[in-house]
Amino acid sequence: MQKSLKKYFPVFALPTVAAFCVSFLIPFVMGLYLSFCKFTTIKKVSFVGIKNFVAIFADEGFLNALWFTVKFTVVSVITINVLAFVLAYILTRGLKGTNLFRTTFFTPNLIGGIVLGYIWQIIINGVLKYFDVTITYSAKYGFWGLVILMNWQLIGYMMIIYIAGIQNIPKDLIDSAAVDGAGRLKTLTNVTIPMVMPSVTICLFLTLTNSFKLFDQNYALTDGAPNGETQMLALNIFKSFYNTSGSKGTGQAKAVIFFLIVGVIAFIQLVATRNKEVEN
C-alpha cells in the first residue's frame, strides 16, 4: 500500500504542509534570526549579535512582567486545581442532579478572553467603588482581579478532567478500602488521590501553560495599568512590537526567551508523563 500511496503527497499532505510553512515554520525561523537584529520594519534589518538579549535583561518592564507572570501562574495553578478538585470530589459522590451543576461550572470556559476581561473589569470596579478606587489604582488589585478571573474561567474545565479521573477509579478498589475499615478521609488520601494522579499532572500543566501564556484577559482587564505594573509577559512582548517607535528587535528577543521558558515547561511535562507511563 505504501508504494501506491506514496505519490499522493500533493493531494494528502501538501495543503497542510504549505499552510504550516507559511504560518509557522518560515515565521519561526525568521523570528529566530530577527531576534539578533535591529529593525523597525522587515525591509531595514541590521545584525547586532546578542545585543537585544543583553538589553532585555536590563529592561525593568520586562523583568517586572516576568516576575508578575511567575507569581500569577503559581497562585492561579494552586487555587484553580484545589478548588476544581474539591468540586469534582463533591460532584462524584452520587448526588442527584449533578449534571446541571457540571454544565453551569463549565460554561465560563467557553467565553473568550477579551469578553471575560471586560465582564470582570465592570464587576471588580463595582466592588472597589465602595473603597473609592478602581482596578487600575494599584497593581495588587489587577493581580487579584486576574487570579479571580482565571479561577472563574478554568475551574470548570479542570473539574471536568478531575471528574473523568475519579470516575475511572475501579469501584471495587473503593469498596475494598471500605471493607478494610478505611474511613472517608482515609479513602480520599490513600485511594482516590493516588489514583487520579494522571489527571493531576494533566491539569497542572494545562493551568500552568494557560496562565503563563495569558494575553487576552490581561489586555482587556487592566492593559498593564498602572504603569505597566500588571503586564504579563505576552502583553509586554506585544507592546514592544506594536507600541514602540524604536527597534522591534528587543520584542523578538523577548519572544525567544518566552518560547524557551514555555519549551522548558513542556519538556518537564513530557518527562513527567513518560515517568508515569513507565510506572504503570
Binding site: F20, F24, L95, P108, L110, G112, N125, I161, K248
Partner: protein
C-alpha cells in the same frame, strides 16, 4: 449595596458556615442532611458562577451614565434605557457583520482543518520514511511554540502573500491548527489496523477512495474532538485576526468588542454590556445543544494534547 450591606453579607456567610459546621456535627449519620448541605454549597457556587453574566445582563439595559455608579443595582425608571444600548452598540461596532465573519471564519477554518489535517496525518503515518517522521515531529514541536514568537513575522508574511482577508486567514488557521490536529489524528490512525485499508485497495479502491470510504469514517470520533477544540479556539481568538485582518473592513466578534475601548480609553459601558451579552449568546446556544460532544471533546483533547 453599600458597606453595611457587605457587612451583612459577610455575617450571613459566617452564619451559613456555622450552620453547616453544626449540622455536620449533628448529622454524621444522616446522609440526607449531609446531601442537603452539599446542595446548598453547590448552589452557592453555581450562583457565583452565574452572577457575573447576570450582572452584565442587568446593566445592558441601563443608561451608560449609571452603570459605573453601581453595577449591582437593579435597573429602575431613571436608569432603564430598554434596548438602546443594543441598537446603538450594534450600529457603532458593525456587530452584525462581525457575527457573520466570525461564523464564516470559524466554520470554514474548522472544516478545512478537519479535512486537510486528517488526510495529512493519515499520509505521514502510513507512508513511513525519514521526511514524514521529521514532518510529524515538526508538527508536534509547533504545539509548544507560543504565538508571540511568530506573531510579528507571520503577520508580515501574511500581508506580503495577500492573506489579510477572511479567506486568507483560513489558510493561516490551517497552518496554526495543524500541530494539535495532526498530532491527534496520527495518534488515532496508529491504532487502526492497516489490513482494512489494504483490503480496500486490493478490491480496487484508489488511495483517495480508500481514504473517504474507509479511513475517514473510522476517524470520525477524533474528527469531532478536533473540530470542537479548533472551533472554541478560533471563535474566541482575538490577537491573530486583529493582526492579520484589515479591521476597518473585516471584524470578528472579539475585535468588535475590543474596538469599543476606543483609542483614548473612554469606554461606552452601556454599549459594552450589550455587546458582551450578544457575544455570549451564540456560545451558550452552541454549548447547550452540543454539550455532550463539547465536554467529551475537551476531556479527550486534554488527555491527548
Amino acid at each position: 449595596m453599600n458597606i453595611s450591606a457587605w457587612a451583612a453579607a459577610a455575617v450571613a456567610v459566617a452564619a451559613g458556615v456555622a450552620v453547616i459546621v453544626v449540622l455536620r456535627l449533628i448529622s454524621k449519620r444522616f446522609k440526607a442532611a449531609r446531601n442537603g448541605i452539599l446542595y446548598v454549597v453547590l448552589s452557592a457556587v453555581a450562583v457565583v458562577f452565574l452572577a457575573p453574566v447576570a450582572i452584565i445582563l442587568l446593566n445592558s439595559f441601563k443608561n451608560k451614565l449609571y452603570i459605573l455608579d453601581n453595577p449591582f443595582s437593579l435597573p429602575d425608571s431613571t436608569t432603564w434605557t430598554g434596548l438602546d444600548n443594543y441598537i446603538e452598540g450594534v450600529g457603532k461596532t458593525g456587530f452584525l457583520s462581525a457575527v457573520g465573519w466570525s461564523f464564516f471564519i470559524t466554520i470554514v477554518s474548522v472544516g478545512v482543518i478537519v479535512l486537510c489535517t486528517s488526510m495529512c496525518a493519515w499520509y505521514i503515518t502510513r507512508v513511513k520514511n525519514r521526511f514524514n517522521s521529521f514532518l510529524y515531529y515538526l508538527f508536534v514541536f509547533s504545539m509548544i511554540v507560543p504565538f508571540q514568537m511568530v506573531m510579528f513575522t507571520m503577520s508580515y508574511l501574511a500581508s506580503k502573500l495577500h492573506l489579510s482577508n477572511p479567506y486568507g486567514i483560513v489558510f493561516i488557521y490551517l497552518g496554526f491548527g495543524a500541530g494539535l490536529s495532526v498530532f491527534m489524528f496520527s495518534g488515532f490512525v496508529k491504532s487502526i489496523p492497516v489490513d482494512i485499508e489494504e483490503a480496500a485497495m486490493i478490491d480496487g479502491c484508489s488511495p483517495i477512495q480508500t481514504y473517504f470510504r474507509v479511513v475517514f469514517p473510522i476517524l470520525r470520533p477524533t474528527a469531532v474532538t478536533v473540530a470542537i477544540l479548533n472551533a472554541m479556539w478560533i471563535w474566541n481568538d482575538y490577537l491573530l485576526p486583529s493582526l492579520i485582518l484589515d479591521t476597518t473592513k473585516y471584524r470578528t466578534i472579539p475585535i468588535a468588542v475590543q474596538m469599543l475601548r476606543g483609542s483614548y480609553g473612554a469606554v461606552d459601558w452601556g454599549h459594552m454590556m450589550a455587546m458582551i451579552i450578544l457575544a455570549i449568546v451564540p456560545i451558550i446556544v452552541f454549548y447547550l445543544t452540543c454539550q455532550k460532544y463539547i465536554i467529551e471533546g475537551v476531556v479527550a483533547g486534554a488527555v491527548k494534547g
